[in-house]
Amino acid sequence: MNIYYSIKRDSWENSLLRLSSSYIIYGVTGNGQSTDYDLISERNISSLVYNRPKPATPLKTFFLPVRENVTADTVKEVPRIIIGTPNCDIEALGILDEIYLDESFEDVFYRRRRESTIIISSDCLEIQEHCHCTAYNINPFSTGKADLAVILRHDDIILRAISEKGIELAEKSFNAVRSDDRTLASFVESRHHETVEILNRTGKGLPDYRTTGRLVKAAGESVWKRYSSKCVSCGACTTICPTCTCFLLIDKPGFHKVKQMDACQYPGFERVAGGEDSLGKLPSRFRNRYMCKYVWKPAKFHSTACTGCGRCIEACIGKINKNELFRELAK
């Protein structure tokens, strides 16, 4: 479903400010260099940016905080609106939902946050150096998992409703004007097409998701040794990844437990009390992340474990580029 609406930018911003009395609003702001989520108020609403690629922080942090007490007796969540999320991060919610909303062990903290959050996505109309979502069959604009997408055109905001909930939001919360002719649709579709073309060009030579899995599985020890020689096990790649959600439970007095983000790249991640450690050696830890994303998670879950956002490449202080590795494997 794609129903198009338009609204003047100042009316859109005024609507958001009105909504801020009942919702906490986060949006993507930034400068020429980088963008990130910020708490939105009258002070900074005009610095909201649209249609830029991924913000520095992945969306997962809104649902899985870096550190939280998970033995609390109540969960109080204030309704939130998050504006400007790119589709790579929205697609990444699929695997988070599979893990944390698993009906046999549902994480109530995650569920309440998901239920109390409205995500308004932003169609990417430009790309960053390492963006490669289309290599994994993910579009730079939301298709199914978001309700509403926003596109800035001159001084107008175009709203693309993707679901019934999106229609309701556009019409009731933003009083946007529905456009039934093809003008807005044609404009947006052509911009989508241009972005996809650029991504396809820059992602040339990258194997698709399934092929990557086969290549990773078949890759010999020397590849992992060579690429991991620059890895310092800092865990930046997993921390910044929109689909990595491993954690540690830390015990506190009163049988309280604090759930803290963890990373398979840290030494000791799989060590047992007896001393055995399957990931004790750096090349095996390094390989583990690739096997997890491209082989094991695809075998276990329906959703993708890599959405091609490229943040892990940007975050790596050893300048390890996974796409270089994949291109080498694909030769």
Binding site: V70, T71, A72, D73, T74, V75, K76, I99, Y100, D102, S104, F105, E106, D107, V108, T245, C246, F247, L248, L249, D251, K252, P253, G254, F255, K257, K259, D262, C264, F269, E270, R271, V272, A273, G274, E276, D277, S278, L279, S284, M291, C292, V295, W296, K297, A299, K300
Partner: protein, 274 residues
Amino acid sequence: MPPFNNIYKPFRAKLTKVIEESPLIKTFVLRPDEEFAFKTGQFIELSVDGIGEAPFTPSSSPLVRDMLEVTVMKTGYMTGYMHDMKPGEYMGIRGPFGRGYPVERFFDKEVLILGGGCGFAPIRSLLYNLIAISDKLRKVTLCYGSKTPEDCIYKPYIAELRKTPKFEVLRSVDKADSNWNERVGVVTVLLDDVKVDISNSVAVVCGPPVMMKFGTLKLLEMGYPEHDIYLSMEKNMSCGLGKCGHCMMGEYFVCKDGPVFTYAEIKNQPNIWN
């Protein structure tokens, strides 16, 4: 706000008795604050308040609902604290978690059990279960190995088991003393003494990783099919919920998909023995 099911929150259990099994192994008898049921081979996450939490498979009978026994070797930080605990203190329990032993698949068969060291703990729970259904089994043979006679655990229980019809116990130690009159050598030497109809038998292995590895290889050599060898895997099961990732063994979360697997299920997964 209505109460909710919090998967991370333990319930309390009172420590009622501590039994010294060997210099490094103690059995902790716990009375949970609420009725607690588990299937043999499933595990629990046991907490020492404010110190830590670790996975243990109960060593008591799954048929008992008001008490629970956990046999623990003093190995690290959390178990070190645990070994200093006294009756009357409280511990935290989450669980039970995972997939236990599929005892219904053992019906009308001979069950060969290979255990080493503290790996006897889950096996004892299984044995309690097998005794309760012994009319449905042909025979149960326990091969148990420990480092020294002093390290042999559950001595009174073994004496009882030896008197139980259909149950046979073979033991070995790596290093004997002058009073030891059973086998000497690693546990797999006992398999040379076992008389078993492999075509109508299943094998269960539980113990330290190196013993699991060589035990499994020996069973395969004897002719056991891969799908008839049941392994209780030891990994760093931290959350027990298939979420935290610490116990991933290839595409499996050991905490949720295991900890009991057949060898056929996991033979192609990485690092199964360490």
